[in-house]
Every structure is written in structure tokens, then in C-alpha cells.
Symmetry: C2
Subunit: 265 residues, 2 copies
């Protein structure tokens, strides 16, 4: 451009990065600011995660109020958006127990929640499906679809399903348009197996011993741990209350709920 400027009759106008000087209430090119002078700027990521996602007003020096209002309307804060909280982990890892305890806490933060756990899913959604890998994938897809539908309408669903495979879980995340918090219940297999509330591990071990493996997660079927879950809990080390606390802390951090006493505008 500079090289061919004369030839094409166009000149580059150098655009310098500007920065705000709060003490002078004016902008200045970043390379003209003297050392020691206070400056302020907000990055694109900060606009998205620290202001819009949390419903915080952009300062007037950064964005005209009329523009800020349009940004807020097209990008509602996280606490006004739908949400899917997805508990994944071995049978007996504490998914349903922690999810049940979380329901009440979320109501205190103004999030009314529907819980899709094994019982609810068997009663209302999974009839007709068996235990083949395909049918189990269909089941997880369906739970993810329903949670995504509720999230689209601003609602919150807690899903507590073993969901051993990574791909269907990642698909569920997409169906909720990213308003998705994955809670990995990383309780060790031996602890889960020693609990064996429903006697399923014993049944699965016997089936293997009898040469009729039933494809039970952790025994004769793999569990693919999440690569970057939002929250990891281990109910062999933490109490249910502490697990709930860890999830609440993450939801506050992302902005899906507001600290008590902070009423949404």
C-alpha cells in the first residue's frame, strides 16, 4: 500500500491505538501517553465476559449509552439466559445426590430448575430404548435435546446421567448453545463400586464371570472422562454440601447466578 501509494492515488492513514485517560477524561494515542499516567481500556473479551455476560453497564467513556443498550439487548446477561448443568460420572459417583441438593440452592438464587435424572428419564423419555451403544447414545442425545429446548426458553435443567461417551456430551453442549456447565463426578471406581446402592456392579461382575458381559460402565465398558469440565467433584473426598458449594461458586464466576443481594436491573 505504502509502496504503490503514488501509483494508485491512495494514501495510508495511520490509525493509532487509542487509550482512555480517566484523569483527563479524554482519549490519546497509546504511544503518546507519558509514563505514570493512568490509562483505561476494555478488551473485546472483557466486554463479552465481564460486562455483557454479567449485565454490567459499559462505562460511558467506552461506549455511548444508546450503543451499550443495543449490545445489552442483543446479548442478555448470563443470569437471564437458559442453562443446562450436566452431571457425568460412574454409577454411584454421586451425580443424582449432588444434583438434588443443588436444586434447592439454585431456587434461592432465583433459578427454577427441572431435574432430569435416571428415574425421570426412564418414566418420561427413554421407553423403547435398550442398552446397545446406539440406544444409549440416542438416550443421551434426547436428554440433551430436551435440556436444550428448555434452555432456549430461558429455563434451567439439571441432567444427571452416566453419559460415558464424550461425543454425545459435547453434542448436548451444542444443543444448549454453550449455556452448559459440565460437572464431572470424578469419584474413584472402587468407592463407587463399594457403595453399589442398586447392586448393579455386583450384577455386572457376575455377568462378566458368567461370560455374558452386559457392557456396564467402569466394569466392561469404558468411561471417557471430560477433557475440560467446568467443575470436577469427588464425593469420596468432599461432602455433598461442599460439592454444591463448588458448583455455586463456578456459576457465580461465570455469571449464571448473581450473588445474594444483587438484584438484576
Amino acid at each position: 500500500m505504502v509502496k504503490h501509494g503514488d501509483e494508485i492515488g491512495m494514501k495510508m492513514v495511520d490509525f493509532k491505538q487509542m487509550v482512555y485517560l480517566p484523569d483527563d477524561d479524554r482519549y490519546a494515542p497509546v504511544d503518546e501517553v507519558k509514563p505514570g499516567v493512568r490509562t483505561a481500556d476494555i478488551s473485546g473479551t472483557q466486554v463479552r465476559d465481564d460486562y455483557l455476560a454479567k449485565g454490567k453497564a459499559l462505562p460511558e467513556w467506552f461506549s455511548r449509552p444508546a450503543v451499550a443498550a443495543i449490545l445489552n439487548a442483543t446479548s442478555p446477561p448470563k443470569f437471564r439466559q437458559g442453562l443446562t448443568i450436566w452431571f457425568t460420572g460412574l454409577s454411584g459417583s454421586g451425580k443424582s445426590t449432588v444434583a438434588h441438593a443443588l436444586v434447592e440452592r439454585l431456587a434461592e438464587y432465583g433459578r427454577n430448575v427441572s431435574l432430569l435424572d435416571g428415574d425421570e428419564i426412564r418414566t418420561h423419555l427413554s421407553k423403547g430404548l435398550g442398552f446397545s451403544k446406539e440406544d444409549r447414545d440416542t438416550n443421551i442425545h434426547r436428554v440433551g435435546y430436551v435440556a436444550g429446548l428448555v434452555a432456549q426458553h430461558g429455563g434451567t435443567t439439571l441432567c444427571a446421567v452416566i453419559s460415558p461417551y464424550r461425543a454425545p456430551r459435547d453434542h448436548a453442549r451444542k444443543l444448549s448453545k454453550g449455556n452448559f456447565v459440565e460437572v464431572f463426578c470424578d469419584t474413584p471406581l472402587d468407592v463407587c463400586e463399594s457403595r453399589d446402592v442398586k447392586g448393579l456392579y455386583a450384577k455386572a461382575r457376575n455377568a462378566v464371570a458368567d461370560g455374558k458381559p452386559m457392557g456396564f460402565t467402569g466394569v466392561d465398558d469404558p468411561y471417557e472422562a471430560p477433557l475440560s469440565p467446568e467443575v470436577t467433584i469427588d464425593t469420596s473426598k468432599l461432602s455433598v454440601g461442599d460439592c454444591v458449594h463448588a458448583i455455586i461458586a463456578k456459576l457465580l464466576e461465570i455469571g449464571y447466578i448473581l450473588p445474594h443481594g444483587h438484584q438484576p436491573a
Copy 2:
């Protein structure tokens, strides 16, 4: 009470029905009001259907503002509540066509809508179910469950399914806690059959002729018409636009949407 008053030492205090006199701004016993004097009263049904359901403030002469505010909070207006619109009727009766046209119109009234029609249901919800009566009932139950879940979170679902039996439809109404508008697509069988977009009627007639009835609604399986649908349309007589208009009129009447220009408070 009057008879045994002396014996038990209690006297009946006669309570007279009171009525408001707007011109005097006072209450008076209804039997003391002179003929020709203006009176005002609001029945319990009117409180529920004409005020609370429509988000209209109760007048101060009827209810103290503090009480009215509590009534409004516990009984949000219909336009803030979830809603299931359930299209039922024969194959080819126009359910899906009218439902699709309604989606856009409802968005104009601020209701964002998810549409559960045959395609969506087959893709996401009904895999594993067959055509037995039991499986078809399970399918309708499931659609009703999902719509009810969305409605609980304040969302709107349009369901377009033949749903030939009355009991599963009535169950779906319960799952949406009564926030349910049943649209009966009452297009005559011969018109539906002459359309036969998917060739299903021809297939069903052939199956009957071959002595292998497939249980197709209207051919060799009954359709139980709704007893009191909120809206009845006949796409052999009304245009799609007119059908949509009829549904919109009913939604305005019940208060699920507000007339254009009426912003919710």
C-alpha cells in the same frame, strides 16, 4: 344457630353483602341501595380471568394495593406464563402447515416458540417407538411431557401431532398445568384423503384391501374428536391466514398475548 343461640350463649351477627358506590366512594349493604344508584362489584371469576390473568391492576376500592401486589405476584398474568398449543386432527388436516404459519405471528407478539411436529419428533424424541397403540400413546405422552417442561419454564411450544385419542391429549393438558390451547383441525376426511401428500391414505387403503390393516387414523383406526377444543379450524373452508387469525384471536381473548402496542408493565 338462631334456634340454639340462648342455649349456647352465641348470637349470629348478620353479615350483609356489601357493594361499592362509585359516586359516593363508599360501601353500602346491597339491600339498602336505592334504585338508580350506580354500584360496582368484581366477582371471584372476574378477579381471576379479567384482572390477574391479564395483568390488569385491581382497583383500589376493591383491593388494597399491597394485597393486589401479592395477588399479582402469586398469579402472574397469562402473557408471562408458558403455553402449549396443541394441534390435533387427521393426517393432511393442515396441523403442521397452520402451526408453521403461527410461529412467525407469535414472534411478533413477543412469544418465541418451539415447534414439535412429526419431523422434529421423529428426529429427537420417538426413536425406538413403533405403531402399536401403547407406543403411540407413549409418544403423545412424551411430546406432552416435553411441552409441559418448556411451559413450566415460561416457554411456548406448538405441538402438531395427529394424537387421535382423547385421554393422552387431556393428559398433555394436565402436564402443561392447564396453560394449554387445543386446536382441533376439523378438516373432513375426504379432503384430507384427497390431499394425501405423503401417500399414506393410499397405503392404508391398500393394506386394508390386502387384509393387513395398519391401524391408520381415519381409515382403520378411530379419531376421537376433542369435546371442547379452544379453537376449531377447517382448512377446507378457511385459508391458512384465516386459521392463524382465529387462533391469535383466541390467544388475545384468554390473555396469552397482548394486543400490539400494549407493552407489559
